[in-house]
Amino acid sequence: MEKKEHIISILVYNKPDVLARIAGTLGGKGYNIESLSVNTTTSYEVSKIIMTTIGNQATITRIENQLRRFVDVIRVDNLTNIESIHREMILVRLNLTEDKKEEIKKNIDTYKWKVIVSADSYVILEITGDKAQNDFAMARLEPLGIADITRTGIVALELES
């Protein structure tokens, strides 16, 4: 069976150890979490976890069933095979060195990157997109000399529930 990336949405009770429980169990069973994003929902009592993991369909089904066993898990949805939108964010600091300065400015204009901090010696950009868009941005950013970077995990939402 074909291995691919799956995006799993997990609705959980917002308990202090719920993430440790999920991460610990999946790790203990040998499944790797590729990316993770957690925050509360409209209710502080309930959090949504968006997790991406790689595996074939059988493995992913096992992971989903394992997740459903947790007392603190309310619901599990695999967003991979249903229509959903995905976003992740990059925060990146580029140093405005003499040799790169012009090229950085040109790229910011061309790709319409959002400048959130602009200082004399550096800029901080916020780039949001799906994985493909952000990979594309990464490829453009690397030659410019990345001083520091943070990427979030993927967040995702189904079009209709």
Partner: protein, 567 residues
């Protein structure tokens, strides 16, 4: 009404019908023990090691089908309990284990006898809680009992900081709310139609019963299904007792030490109805060759057990009892009848396998054979006994040679395989059923792992009977060394064991020893009749092996038999 944490704890335990707690006091649970001192409804059994407390609660739960309760202190008290918790978790046994914890203000400070027990037990509990404030105490304890016994049961740990238990709160039972989590009960009717269709076209059906049938209290339904439609039955170690072991349809246990005919039946059947099993590696042998000729129906309450090891043709997620009731009703409404001569042919084939390689051993008049002791125990007790075992050869011989007739009468650590389980578990069983004969079938290695619990049995006159099969070896490991490591007995020789008869006397209980086959019956009769805890030691043939055996990594249809029998 204002109540302290300790009062709330005991009040809810009473409401939950808890009559016995197995435990061991310590610094952080002093307030609870002080409160327990005046309680008339809950009996506390003081064990000698916290592992023993959890195994005793586990034995109690397995024999009664109710939730077992243990209480231990923080730090080492809690870590000592972990083996017991992991044992219960692997076999899905409902327990609530209360651990003391240092005051909330000290948590994380490496305080005296502090440990992160919820962190440690996260992978080996069904769920666990650290109660952070008095307001959530009542609902947490209620929820712990609900989680332990509902759905696929399991152990729940509740960590109780000392200051929370000493605090006071307005207590109103009407305000206790517990979350309801999703549990599967009944499968869709179309699944029943599918089983009917599969049964109707099957020529060689076989039922495989597992621990889920006992936990789901579905033994009567499973037995009815098999008997009404003349379907032979095999079982996993945990399924033993869910179908009468003396019935002609019973094929014995399957798997690594299963009978030849059970393993042949699985390998040749064309329909396998697996109920409450999880297809453990000790049961299946190599997965690729397991039941290759069969369509497989798997009935289980836990979706994560389905398609985990063996990919099945018809998965049914449901409570075993409710599902089997639905199935029986559906089959009867649709007038299902097996094709008579087809079924007779299949049963004749099973009988032929049984005749070709029966479950047997080389009898001896010179030296005591462990199997002979177990057979004699059955003969004397007529099976009216609850048996616990330790882990290893003693456990496998019991599973093979004692035909258990009823569910909840064979109490053994299957999944985790915990040596030292049998004695404390027997104490738990006997506490629940003081009028029942309760026997721990033990080996000399295992019994020494929790031997200190003899003092518990002696203190409370919990008259458990220990049948000790002493070969002076860690027998099962030695067997593997004999078969797979060229008889290099690295660290399995235990000739230096205590004199068990004197040890029994030292603990204030009775001890008897048999060294010759002629003494077996008299020793058993004497030991079973004494109104005290008893060790009956049988000095058995040292290098006896458990046969048949499927070599690790082999198919269950390829079995090794006792050379002396097959030659």
């Amino acid at each position: 009404m204002k109540l302290k944490g300790t009062q709330i704890l005991l009040r809810i335990l009473e409401e939950e019908g808890v009559d016995i707690i197995f435990g061991y006091p310590g610094g952080t649970v002093l307030d609870i023990y002080d409160r327990l001192h005046d309680n008339k409804k809950i009996r506390h059994i003081l064990v000698r090691h916290e592992q023993g407390a959890v195994h005793a609660a586990d034995g109690y739960a397995r024999a009664t089908g109710r939730v077992g309760v243990a209480l231990v202190t923080s730090g080492p008290g809690a870590t000592n309990a972990v083996t017991g918790i992991a044992t219960a978790n692997m076999d899905s046994i409902p327990l609530v284990v209360f651990t003391g914890q240092v005051p909330t203000g000290l948590i994380g400070n490496d305080a005296f006898q502090e440990c992160d027990i919820t962190g440690i037990t996260r992978p080996c509990t069904k769920h666990n809680f650290l109660v952070r404030n008095i307001e959530e105490l009542a609902s947490t304890i209620k929820e712990a009992f609900h989680i332990a016994r509902s759905g696929r049961p399991g152990p729940v740990l509740v960590d109780l900081p000392k200051n929370v238990m000493a605090a006071e709160v307005d207590y109103d039972p009407k305000n206790i709310k517990i979350r309801n989590y999703e549990v599967f009960h009944k499968p869709a009717p179309k699944k029943m139609a599918q089983i009917l269709e599969m049964l109707s076209s099957a020529k060689k059906p076989l039922i495989m019963t597992g621990g889920g049938v006992i936990l789901g209290k579905a033994a009567a339904e499973l037995t009815q299904l098999a008997k009404q439609y003349n379907i032979p039955v095999t079982g996993t170690l945990m399924g033993i007792g869910s179908f009468p072991g003396d019935d002609a349809l019973w094929q014995g246990m399957l798997g690594m030490h299963g009978t030849y005919y059970a393993n042949m039946a699985v390998s040749h059947c064309d329909l396998l109805i697996a109920v409450g099993v999880r297809f453990d590696d000790r049961v299946t042998g190599t997965i690729e060759t397991f039941a290759t000729n069969a369509k497989i129906v798997q009935i289980d309450i836990d979706p994560s057990s389905i398609n985990k090891n063996v990919v099945v043709d018809l998965p049914i997620i449901g409570d075993t009892k409710a599902t089997l009731q639905d199935l029986l009703k559906f089959l009867s409404e649709h007038n299902y009848e097996p094709v008579k001569n087809q079924r007779e042919q299949w049963l004749a084939q099973l009988a032929a396998w049984k005749k070709k390689v029966p479950l047997t051993y080389c009898r001896s008049n010179d030296i005591i054979k462990p199997q002979a002791v177990i057979e004699k125990l059955y003969e004397i007790t007529k099976g009216d006994v609850i048996i616990t075992t330790e882990v290893g050869q003693n456990q496998m011989w019991t599973a093979q040679f004692f035909p258990f007739a009823k569910a909840n009468t064979f109490i053994t650590s299957g999944g985790l395989g915990t040596m030292g389980f049998g004695l404390p578990a027997a104490i738990g069983v006997k506490s629940a059923f003081p009028d029942k004969q309760v026997v721990d079938i033990a080996g000399d290695g295992s019994i020494q792992m929790n031997i200190q619990e003899l003092a518990t049995a002696a203190q409370y006159n919990i008259n458990v009977k220990i049948v000790l099969l002493n070969n002076g070896y860690l027998g099962m490991v030695r067997q593997w060394q004999e078969l797979f490591y060229k008889k290099r007995y690295s660290n399995t020789d235990m000739t230096h064991t205590p004199d068990f008869v004197k040890l029994a006397e030292a603990y204030g209980i009775a001890g008897f020893r048999a060294t010759k086959p002629a003494e077996v019956e008299a020793t058993l009769r004497q030991g079973l009749a004494v109104d005290k805890p008893v060790i009956m030691e049988f000095v058995i043939s040292r290098e006896e092996c458990v046969y048949p055996m499927v070599r690790p990594g082999a198919s269950i249809s390829e079995m090794t038999h006792d050379r002396e029998i097959t030659n």
